[in-house]
Symmetry: C2
């Protein structure tokens, strides 16, 4: 559209012209191109103005995308029904707690034996502050949020190839990396090596800033002393009385920090997805499912396995199996919003155009395996002073996440002791649940020696063995995005897809929610125009 801009028009004129000619969506997209739309894809409470004209919509899948669609379409006056394969709503927004049972592909059944209050979230587990849609619904639906401790300076970073395999505290690595970066850049500025890039005046400000940020001394050196220990911590911490004087700790050399490779753990904490504030629902991610269920549970039909989706000029008809009774059933509506994950949808008979059909078959799903272990006590808090946060390792379990709730509780606690993708994710998924736990106990013991002696029990979810997804989330390559994304999202007759796979927020609930809102907005525009 930007190719046709009339340079004589003002931006406002042009926007209003586009708006009149092409509807809100086009206007919104044009606004984005002008950098005026600073907010998220989620624009606040959904408003579908105009009549639903008595139309009905059948929604497939009661995950957050399907339930968002049902909630907002219902409010706009549509007749809605959701068919859900499982015996619960929420899909991947899921908590496994004591008493829960989970059967994976292959038939292995795990009964979770965790104590009351302990759980893992096998799927999404974090809600960054900018997931405006999800946070909006959490507030609206009474889902309590509490901070997720993404970063913990006292958690470990661990490499089998550095420090003889001994885990290091994150604060030592970050403080020393920053200190040495600050010292090195100060040196370059002071010797005039950047005179072609930065003015003398700005160079002076830069030096001042590096001393502040890098904890350098008056000569711009990162050395043992009060400044560096006030970042990395002390050999003897300050206290009170006559035994109070702190003793500074010795920073590592630049060479030691760089060659350890442990600086890799710093960047992850700085990314858009992981920046503070970041939340989790109080009680586990299943509370998101329950919140939506309170609002739309009455239109959800559980235990309904979709076997065919057929559309005609008259409407959409879905065949499904009642998995409890075995009865073959049929549901019909004017339109269908389908949120079934693509690896499942690709196996369902469905008369859509070749572009959508190709898109459905073209998106592989990423792998991921999570293993939660319960221990007799919170040794990570009691022995290691690690309250929440994540330790990272180059072992196949990849990370150990400490609970971000009930700090200081005296009973048993649960660690997310493995959260791993890629090749290690496939390998772990390929094992039996018992073998997964045995492996993770071995790996975890290299970071926390207490793992084996304090172990109680565990549960694991390898997402390629989850029968109703067959993978973790849609993994879009640049090429697939260019070729298939618009086709996947476009309305095909009376059918439209939604879910995290139909978003740029793959693997996040926010992708499912914003995709559902985008889909129902277009559906409503279609109904208005018809």
């Amino acid at each position: 559209m930007s190719q046709n801009l009339n340079p004589g028009m003002s931006k406002r004129d042009l926007l209003s012209l586009i708006g009149a000619a092409a509807g809100g969506t086009a206007m919104y997209m044009a606004m984005g191109a002008f950098d005026q739309a600073k907010a998220s894809n989620f624009k606040g409470p959904v408003k579908l103005d105009g009549s639903a004209k008595g139309k009905s919509v059948l929604i497939l899948g009661a995950g957050v995308a399907g339930m968002t669609a049902a909630l907002e379409l219902g409010r706009a006056g549509y007749q809605v029904q959701i068919l859900e394969y499982q015996d619960r709503v929420g899909g991947r927004s899921w908590t496994l707690a004591g008493g829960d049972t989970y059967t994976e592909l292959g038939g292995a059944t795990q009964k979770v034996g965790f104590s009351a209050g302990n759980y893992i979230n096998p799927g999404p587990w974090r809600i960054p502050w900018h997931h405006h849609g999800l946070i909006h619904y959490c507030h609206e639906l009474g889902i309590g949020l509490e901070p997720f401790m993404q970063v913990n300076y006292n958690a470990y970073v661990h490499s089998t190839k550095a420090f003889d395999g001994k885990p290091q505290r994150f604060r030592h690595i970050q403080a020393d990396y920053y200190g040495h970066v600050g010292e090195l850049l100060s040196k370059a500025v002071n010797k005039g090596a950047l005179a072609d890039t930065i003015s003398k005046e700005d160079g002076e400000i830069l030096l001042e800033s590096l001393r502040s940020w890098g904890a350098l001394d008056k000569d711009f050196r990162y050395v043992k002393g009060r400044e560096s220990s006030n970042r990395r911590g002390w050999d003897k911490e300050p206290g009170g009385g006559l035994t109070a004087e702190p003793i500074p700790s010795q920073p590592m050399t630049a060479e030691t920090v760089l060659r350890s490779g442990l600086w890799r753990s710093i960047a992850g904490n700085l990314t858009w997805d992981h920046e503070f504030s970041i939340f989790q629902p109080v009680g586990g991610m299943g509370e998101v499912a329950k919140g939506f269920e309170r609002a739309v549970g009455k239109v959800v039909r559980l235990n309904s396995k979709v076997t065919a989706i057929q559309q005609s000029e008259a409407g959409v008809t879905v065949n499904y199996l009642d998995t409890k009774s075995g009865a073959k059933m049929t549901a019909s509506a004017d339109y269908c919003i389908c949120t079934i994950p693509l690896p499942i949808l690709a196996q369902i008979e469905m008369n859509v155009g070749p572009e959508l059909a190709a898109a459905i078959r073209s998106i592989p799903y990423s792998t991921s395996c999570k293993v939660g272990l319960e221990f007799k006590r919170r040794f990570w808090e009691q022995d290691d002073q690690i309250y929440g946060g994540i330790s990272y390792t180059d072992l196949p379990n990849s990370q150990i996440s400490y609970p971000s709730s009930n700090y200081g509780a005296k009973g048993p606690g649960v660690l997310l002791a493995a959260y791993t993708g890629g090749v290690p994710g496939y390998e772990l998924t390929a094992l039996s649940p018992q073998e997964r736990i045995a492996r993770v106990l071995e790996w975890g013991s290299q970071i926390h020696t207490q793992f084996k002696s304090e172990f109680v029990g565990g549960v694991s979810v390898g997402w390629h063995r989850v029968p109703w997804v067959l993978g973790c989330f849609g993994q879009w390559s640049e090429e697939a995005r260019a070729e298939h994304y618009k086709n996947l999202c476009a309305m095909d007759g009376r059918i439209m897809l939604a879910g995290e796979h139909a978003s740029y927020y793959g693997g996040w609930q926010e992708g499912g929610i914003t995709s559902a809102i985008d889909a129902i907005t277009r559906l409503h525009q279609h109904v208005q125009a018809a």
Copy 2:
């Protein structure tokens, strides 16, 4: 002691020798010198082995220092009593909530009108993970802890001298500062300017690390694109469906970031006192006071104003006034632990040696003023997507802190709208409570335009007008520390001082707790040796 080391002795031999000859404290200090004592001054549950020999201890002040002393001395078998000036325990560990009343020096009385659940902590408000003593007692005494959101990437940093006074998001400043630091250092490395400092191999690792940490592109440039927006945020955030594609934002130039001075806000988040994990008590800092009160409240005598402290060979006698009845009273004990803040203690008649007397008179107290404002709604969450954390400004209010609890609550909310020291702290304290609020409303409006229209009411505490402290906390210069610290902490006959002023953790409850433990440990050693 280290001058007398025998080079032929092993470290272990030496430690055991020191331990035998000089007692636990000396051994502990020697261990520190060898870098073996990595933990805090607080070493876990206090154990005072041996008999209390029927001795009694009178404790002056029921703040956390005094109550810690009472708790542990009581457990060790001592007879303890606390005299407390106020009509409540806790001292500066204090919460002001709706219904509370506070009268400052000069007579101005404020009645707090906050809605239920809203409060400010006029004194300490944060508990870093390494305040081992305080966290130990929180866990033991059933004081719930929740994360304090120290860092919020979406909070503001504000300078009246930059960006025409428009507040900036912290994430923009930090991401762009890191990006430009990374790009500049990469340039210096690539042009060989640091070849005398860092080897070629380490230089290659450094470049790789800078690309990761600084979000640089493949050519080590910090430019508009996916990498930089994945740190600083997007002009249009990613979402779902056909309106989903994110639009990158434009980084600022290095010159803009440097000259804004807003990089000053980065370092504060990296310091020992502010690093994650960091907590607050659920319900306010007054819960710490209540927790201790549950344990030792029965030995506290409230409304007891100490007027004289006299010691003799037979014991310690304290004269005090019952502030309710006006009756002159006396209490006696074998020993006295005095936690009265120094500006008050300096005015009390007391027969101690010249060294302690000089120390008591030599420590000025820092100033601080906090102003809490209640607003009709949490506009910072609803309009600005700021959930907890702190905005910083060069205006006299210095910072605005957003509540770290009840995220998403729909009713009125309270901001700590000023927390300021130094000259602005004195100036604010000098005003009437009404005038303080009027000023803070003006300043805050420059960061949040909603301040005046949403304002409900407020409360302020200027610490130099708090009648029972006359200042915020003891401010030790290097010179004062060298001359007076040991004299302040040393036992003077039958009297020993404790409190944050007798610590290297000035202004923190951990200083009070560790100072109390150090003092009672020495008192107990004295009793054992007697």
